[in-house]
Each structure stands twice: as structure tokens, then as C-alpha cells.
């Protein structure tokens, strides 16, 4: 039981830390992705004459 306690505690710490870290990175860098997506979609519409 002791082994499992340690295992799940470490797993939980890894899960919580990576969740928070990736959220931070995605929040900051995601805006740039969205802008690029809008620009590409607008370009696609112009190219197809819609």
C-alpha cells in the first residue's frame, strides 16, 4: 500500500504541474495561432472568390 501511495502522489504532482504549465504556454502562444488561422482562412476565401 505504501508503494501505491507514493506512486499516486508522484503521478498527481506530475499531472497537476504539467496541466498548469501547458495551460500557461497555450494561453500565451495560442493567440498567435488564432490570428494566423484567421488570416489563412481569409486568404482561402479571397483565393476562391467567395
Amino acid at each position: 500500500m505504501r508503494y501505491w501511495q507514493v506512486f499516486w502522489t508522484v503521478s498527481l504532482l506530475v499531472a497537476g504541474t504539467s496541466f498548469a504549465f501547458i495551460t500557461l504556454v497555450v494561453t500565451i502562444k495560442g493567440f498567435r495561432d488564432l490570428r494566423e488561422m484567421f488570416s489563412s482562412l481569409s486568404q482561402q476565401r479571397e483565393d476562391s472568390g467567395e
Binding site: 501505491w4 499516486w8 503521478s11 499531472a15 496541466f19 497555450v26 498567435r32 495561432d33 488564432l34 482562412l41
Partner: protein, 506 residues
């Protein structure tokens, strides 16, 4: 009523923002590729946000909280499996890279590319039935969460959930995947903040030592060890590995994100990094459930030998323990942020699922049936219209079914088994189709039919456990693919290059 004015301001402000931003997406939709896969322009970071937001809803928090309450730390096993399998799929590109290369828009579309139009339609029907039944329980359970945490009268549950569904429907119908991606991004940020806040509050309020002590005294070793836990065990763990490989490769809403990325390489990166989020997606709400057990688990002994939650002198079902805990431990302002976060989670999942299942109904059932009847192809604009109408029908079904149906047993297992109805056969057919040169049409039909029968008959008619039914479904689907392909080897070659190894024609 648990809500203060500040909480209402936060929640209403969030809803208005979501709707406004979602409607903006419509201006970028010119054809059906924009509508269903955002013009295949998703970059890495927004891809992670939309994939994570799609698969993290209030329903996710509720069933994981319930699972944690009933099985303790042993419940972490499927969460760990889901994250690790996702990382493996991302690193190897299993299925997802080939799917992206084929420029598909739905999973059943592959079945026409590799096998036949008839099998595509059959798969479309099974995907739609399994997916909509799966989604059918979302609204009621999400409504329970909101009612308990906000404290609004239960008689307002139906109008509140109907209003939320209508808001999602408006921007999903108008802007399709583009609107869904934009709103997913905002919703992902908000739901993540709420997840982190609740985790901190739950552990700080309950105490880590108390949590460990409660599981030790009420469950003993089985509260930590998923292998010896009688409700879980080896059969459950193997089923979980299989179903998570199937979900991450063949689940329509997940696959649509992979189809929407800029390149196969971007798909792999999105999948890999979202795998780390999936660890927290499962474990963190399970921890909330365990904290709720620690605080409220003093009632009569319920399922799995665990005491039922008692809150303010009233015994609740295990699934309601976690939201009852949040109603007590969160203060004004924080409660508003958390409920807005949960609403964000609800809307991101529901809008993506509405789009996913309606895409299957329109692209894989209605349009192929039209073609089979000898009618000409529809213009892109008409296809969007068919998608929008399908979207409305799925929503209507959810309103009438979702608010009144109560699933038997644990919600996590119900969702797994309804997903297995099509995932078992689809996973076997897709993996076989892509990587085994002798896989053919007979094998594909056998896999889909036996996989569905393996899930439906044992669970709904023979009343066996979800673990046995799920295990049987995947086993039968694999046997069906191999046996069907070997026994009837004369089949036509795949229609599109890259669809898979060429089936034997000799």
C-alpha cells in the same frame, strides 16, 4: 442560493463573451472544409486548446469525481492510462498521421476510402447512435452540477440547460468548426483556471494527510491498488488500454481536431502535449471526489463498501458529493469563476460533440445514401445546410432525452460502454485497414457488427458488467476482422492512395 452578485456578473459576462466571439467565426466560413475542419489551419497551441477543451467538460469532472469517490486512488489508473496512451499515439503517429494525410473530415469517411460506401454508411449509423447515446446523459448531469454549486432551484434546471444548449447551438450552427475553435480557446483557459483553483481549495480545505487516512481506513489496500480492487482489476485495465487507444485515434470529436491541423506533424505534437493535460483531466477531479469522500463520507455503506455522502443531514448519490463540496468550500467570486469555468467546459464539449455527430449524420449517412440512390453531389453550400439541419436534430434529441434519462451504475462506465459500441469495430477496422495488407471488406463488416454486438448484447441484455462487455467487444471485433478477411479474401483494392495496404485480390 449560493451565488453572490459578483458570481452572477462573472457567469453572465462569460456567456455573453462566448456567444459574441462564437458568432464572429461565421465570417470565416466559405465552404464545407472551413465549416467542418476549420480549413485545416489549426496550429499547435490552439490545436492543444481545442482538443483539450473538447474532451474536458463538466460531465468529465462529474464522472471522474464519482469514480474517485467510489474507488479512491485506485481510480487514478484509467486517468494515467488515458494520458500515457495519448502520448504514445502522439509520439508514434499511430493512425492519426495517416488519417491527416488522407484529408478526411469524418472517421467513417475512411471506411469508404478503404472498404466500401456501404460499410461507411453502417459505420456512420453506429458512430451516430453510440455517440449520441453517449452525449445523451451530459445535460442532466451537468445541470445537477450547476444546480448544486450555484444553489438555484432545481425546477429551473430544465430552462437553464435548454438556454445553455441554445447558446452553444447558435454559434456552432453558424460558424461550425471555426466558431468552435475560437470559443474552445477561451473556454480552455477558463476551465483550466477553474480546475487549478478547485484543486488547491479542495486539498487546502481537506488536508492531504486526512485524505490519505480516509482512503486507508475506509478502503484499505484496494483504495490504492487498481489490480486488487474488486470493481476494477486486470480485465478493466486491459479494456481501458484498448478503449483509450481507440478514443485517441477513432473518436469523431478527437479525430476532427487531427483532421483540422496544418500537417500530420502538427497532429502528432498536438496529441503528445494534450496527453500530459489528460493526466490532470482525470486525476484532478478524481482527487476532488476523494476529498468529498473525506469530508462527507459518513453515511450508510453504498457501492464498493464506501460510505454514502451526507451533506446537511441529507444522503446524496456519490456523484453529487463533489459539487456539494464545492458549494461549501468556495467563497464569493471564486465560486463565480469556477461555475463560469465549468460552463465553459460544458459549452466546449457540447458544441464540439454537436458538430462531430451532426457531421457524421450528414457526411456519412445522408450524403452517401443520396449518392447510392443515384442523386448528384451537393454543392458546398448545400452540404453546410445539411450539416446545420443535422445539428438541430441532434440538439432536439439531447433536449428531450438528455434531461430525463438517468444512466445505470457509474457514469464513467456507461460512457465507456456506449462509446465501445462503435469504437471496438472502428479501431480494429482502421488499424487493420492501415497496417495489415490482408484486411478487407468482409473483415470490416465482421469487425463493426461483432464489436457492436459484443458491447450491446452483454451489457444491455445479459446484464454483465461493463468490464466484461467492453473486453468482449474489442476481442470480438479483432476476431471478426481477422476471420472475415481470411475467410473471404477476394475484395477490391482501396479507392484512394494511402488508404492502407492493398487488400488481396488474387
Amino acid at each position: 442560493m449560493n451565488f453572490a452578485v459578483i458570481d452572477w456578473v462573472i457567469v453572465v459576462g462569460y456567456l455573453a463573451l462566448s456567444l459574441g466571439v462564437g458568432i464572429i467565426g461565421k465570417r470565416y466560413v466559405g465552404n464545407v472544409t472551413h465549416y467542418l475542419v476549420a480549413g485545416r489551419e489549426l496550429g499547435l497551441y490552439v490545436g492543444i486548446a481545442t482538443l483539450a477543451a473538447t474532451e474536458i467538460g463538466t460531465i468529465t469532472y462529474m464522472y471522474n469525481g464519482e469514480f474517485g469517490y467510489i474507488y479512491g486512488f485506485a481510480a487514478f489508473a484509467p486517468a494515467l492510462i488515458s494520458g500515457l496512451v495519448m502520448i504514445i499515439v502522439g509520439r508514434t503517429g499511430l493512425v492519426i498521421s495517416r488519417f491527416r494525410q488522407l484529408k478526411l473530415m469524418t472517421v467513417p469517411e475512411y471506411f469508404e476510402v478503404k472498404y466500401s460506401r456501404g460499410l461507411r454508411i453502417l459505420t456512420g449509423v453506429l458512430v451516430a447512435v453510440g455517440g449520441i447515446l453517449n452525449m445523451g446523459v451530459f445535460l442532466k448531469i451537468e445541470g445537477e452540477f450547476l444546480t448544486i454549486v450555484s444553489g438555484i432551484n432545481v425546477r429551473f434546471l430544465v430552462p437553464v440547460m435548454t438556454a445553455i444548449l441554445l447558446l452553444e447551438l447558435i454559434y456552432t450552427v453558424l460558424g461550425g468548426m471555426v466558431s468552435v475553435v475560437i470559443t474552445d480557446f477561451i473556454q480552455y483557459v477558463l476551465l483550466s483556471v477553474a480546475t487549478i483553483l478547485v484543486t488547491i481549495y479542495a486539498v487546502a480545505h481537506t488536508g492531504w494527510a486526512n485524505i490519505l487516512a480516509k482512503i486507508t481506513t475506509t478502503m484499505g489496500d484496494v483504495g490504492f491498488n487498481p489490480v486488487t480492487n474488486p470493481g476494477l482489476g486486470v480485465k478493466f485495465l486491459v479494456w481501458q488500454i484498448l478503449i483509450w487507444f481507440a478514443v485517441h485515434t477513432c473518436w469523431q470529436t478527437t479525430a476532427m481536431r487531427m483532421f483540422s491541423t496544418k500537417s500530420p506533424e502538427t497532429s502528432k505534437k498536438v496529441m503528445t502535449w494534450t496527453g500530459f493535460i489528460f493526466l490532470g483531466r482525470g486525476m484532478l477531479p478524481m482527487l476532488w471526489g476523494i476529498a468529498a469522500l473525506t469530508l462527507f463520507g459518513v453515511g450508510t455503506i453504498g457501492k464498493g463498501g464506501v460510505p454514502m455522502p451526507v451533506v446537511n443531514g441529507q444522503t446524496l448519490p456519490a456523484i453529487d458529493a463533489m459539487p456539494a463540496m464545492l458549494a461549501q468550500i468556495l467563497g464569493p467570486g471564486v465560486r463565480g469563476v469556477v461555475v463560469a469555468g465549468m460552463l465553459a467546459a460544458t459549452m466546449s464539449v457540447n458544441s464540439s460533440y454537436l458538430l462531430g455527430w451532426s457531421a457524421v449524420i450528414s457526411q456519412d449517412i445522408i450524403l452517401p445514401v443520396r449518392q447510392a440512390l443515384g442523386k448528384g453531389p451537393l454543392s458546398s453550400r448545400r452540404q453546410i445546410l445539411v450539416n446545420r439541419i443535422a445539428n438541430l436534430f441532434v440538439s432536439l434529441f439531447l433536449m428531450f432525452w438528455g434531461l430525463y434519462y438517468t444512466p445505470p451504475g457509474e457514469v464513467y462506465l456507461y460512457l465507456n460502454i456506449t462509446g465501445t459500441i462503435f469504437l471496438a469495430g472502428a479501431f480494429a477496422s482502421v488499424v487493420g485497414g492501415l497496417y495489415w495488407r490482408r484486411a478487407n471488406l468482409a473483415g470490416g463488416y465482421a469487425a463493426m457488427l461483432l464489436g457492436a454486438a459484443g458491447a450491446i448484447i452483454p451489457f444491455f441484455f445479459l446484464k454483465t458488467s461493463e468490464n466484461t462487455a467492453g473486453f468482449a467487444a474489442f476481442g470480438l471485433a479483432a476476431v471478426g476482422l481477422v476471420a472475415g478477411s481470411l475467410l473471404w479474401p477476394r475484395q477490391p483494392a482501396p479507392a484512394r492512395e494511402g488508404a492502407g495496404e492493398v487488400a488481396s485480390t488474387d
